[in-house]
């Protein structure tokens, strides 16, 4: 048993903080892409485009059924061997791609459930005034489904932030990668990984507070 090297830990904080923007950047971009993709997948699951439905089912099943780390390795190390145009893909792009595809599969299910939760009368009212299916989805159903799904989607965003730590296995120096480098220089593994754990924890706590506020806001919405 030895005492914690607190000075080392304090000194490490600003170093790792410097990589927070990259971590948040990867998570934010992946989240935006995943939201768009998941909405498309969810709408397809609800309206069931013939000939496309089985593909979407397969996609969702695969990306929910395999570990994120395996998917990242498959994209970054595996795909360039079969698809030559991917040879220049960098770690950040590969990580964003992997996070997008992986989480869009989960988010599609959440959004699909939320779409199904929108009252049937809302669909019928939209149809009765002569909206096309796309107009009905975009203007009536998805906004209401979004409200229902929002708390769950924030949870996925939190998972995604934690998931960016896997990008270090693709050689990306983000929070986790930076910590790994520092630790292997100082051999103070416990201190280093404790610092990065606490920093992730703080980020997630801040987001959870935001999530609570979002929920109160959403509960008040449409009621004025």
């Amino acid at each position: 048993m030895r005492a914690l090297d607190l000075d080392y830990m304090l000194g490490l904080v600003p170093v790792i903080l410097g990589y927070v923007p990259l971590t948040l950047f990867m998570a934010a971009v992946a989240m935006l892409c995943a939201l768009v993709l998941a909405s498309l997948l969810a709408v397809e699951r609800v309206i069931r485009v013939p000939g496309l439905d089985w593909l979407v089912v397969l996609f969702i099943s695969f990306f929910r059924g395999t570990p994120l780390l395996v998917q990242l390795f498959l994209f970054y190390y595996g795909l360039p061997q079969v698809l030559s145009f991917l040879t220049q893909i960098n770690g950040v792009t590969a990580a964003i791609m992997g996070l997008t595809l992986h989480f869009s599969a989960y988010m599609a299910e959440a959004i699909r459930a939320a779409i199904t939760g929108v009252d049937r009368s809302q669909w019928e009212a939209a149809q009765s005034i002569g909206m096309t299916q796309a107009q009905m989805m975009r203007r009536i159903v998805l906004p209401q489904a979004g409200r229902i799904a929002a708390p769950t989607l924030v949870n996925y965003f939190i998972d995604m932030i934690k998931g960016t730590s896997l990008a270090f296995t693709l050689g990306v120096t983000e929070m986790m990668g930076a910590t790994q480098k520092e630790a292997s220089g100082s051999f103070l593994y416990f201190e280093a990984f404790l610092v990065v754990a606490i920093l992730y924890w703080i980020i997630v706590e801040v987001l959870s507070q935001g999530q609570k506020q979002l929920e109160t806001h959403l509960n008040k919405a449409y009621a004025r």
């Binding site: 009212a125 005034i129 203007r139 004025r224």
Partner: protein
């Protein structure tokens, strides 16, 4: 002029609409009555393609559709020629009263926002809800919601307005204000097809009353005749029951 021929709708093996023939003149107000489960709602929903009919033709204004061969475009055209008022109001929950009315004008008819907003304010004034323009449906009483629902249908300027028991879901205290608004719509010579159990209202507003049973039109005529001197035994039984 509205012309419906041989309109048929089956759920499973039962014909819920069994070859309905119906002509409605411009500005005519037709009230449909009949026991529960005889296809009154289905008739209105088929005219709007909320339920897809199996056979027959529907002609509303210059839109004419053979329902068995209806394309997406036909269906949209038919829906745009009709305006539906729902029993449960079915206002868009994510839109304010004003936006509910604007929605069809902007999204479906492609009118400029300012023009749609002006029209929405006019309609809200007519429905007596000018001060509720920015309220969401959840903040309105049932009667107010249904008046917005009627306003939403009025603003479209549709050839035919369809009302499916517009007062049945309301607390009794709100029924009067909704019927008053419907009287005002009727006074504008709007063509209306109304399903209702409000016999007094039917007597007062209808040019023609239709009695449906088992997916068919059994008897029809001016309210004085159908409601006061009915021929059909089933109609007599029905009237005794609702009186």
């Amino acid at each position: 002029m509205i012309s419906i021929r041989g309109l048929t709708k089956r759920f499973g093996s039962t014909a819920v609409l069994d070859g309905i023939d119906l002509d409605i003149a411009e500005g005519e107000r037709v009230v449909v009555i009949g026991p529960s489960g005889t296809g009154k709602s289905t008739l209105l929903r088929c005219l709007n393609f909320l339920d897809r009919p199996d056979a027959g033709t529907i002609a509303i204004g210059d839109v004419s559709v053979d329902v068995a061969r209806a394309t997406k475009r036909d269906i949209l055209a038919l829906r745009r020629a009709t305006a539906f008022v729902f029993q449960n109001y079915a206002l868009f929950a994510n839109k304010t009263a004003k936006e509910n009315i604007m929605e069809a004008l902007v999204t479906v008819q492609g009118r400029p926002r300012e023009e749609a907003e002006r029209r929405a304010r006019e309609v809200l004034a007519e429905t007596g809800l000018a001060e509720k323009a920015d309220s969401y449906p959840a903040a309105l009483s049932g009667g107010q919601q249904q008046r917005v629902g009627i306003g939403r249908a009025m603003a479209i300027g549709a050839e035919l307005m369809l009302f499916d028991e517009p007062t049945s879901a309301l607390d009794p205290e709100w029924v009067g204000e909704v019927l008053d608004l419907m009287r005002r719509v009727a006074a504008q010579r709007q063509t209306m097809l109304i399903v209702t159990h409000e016999m007094q209202f039917a007597r007062e507003i209808a040019d023609r009353v239709i009695f449906m049973e088992g997916g068919r039109i059994v008897e029809q005529g001016p309210p004085g005749q159908v409601l006061e001197a009915p021929h059909d035994a089933r109609l007599r039984r029905f009237l005794r029951r609702v009186a």
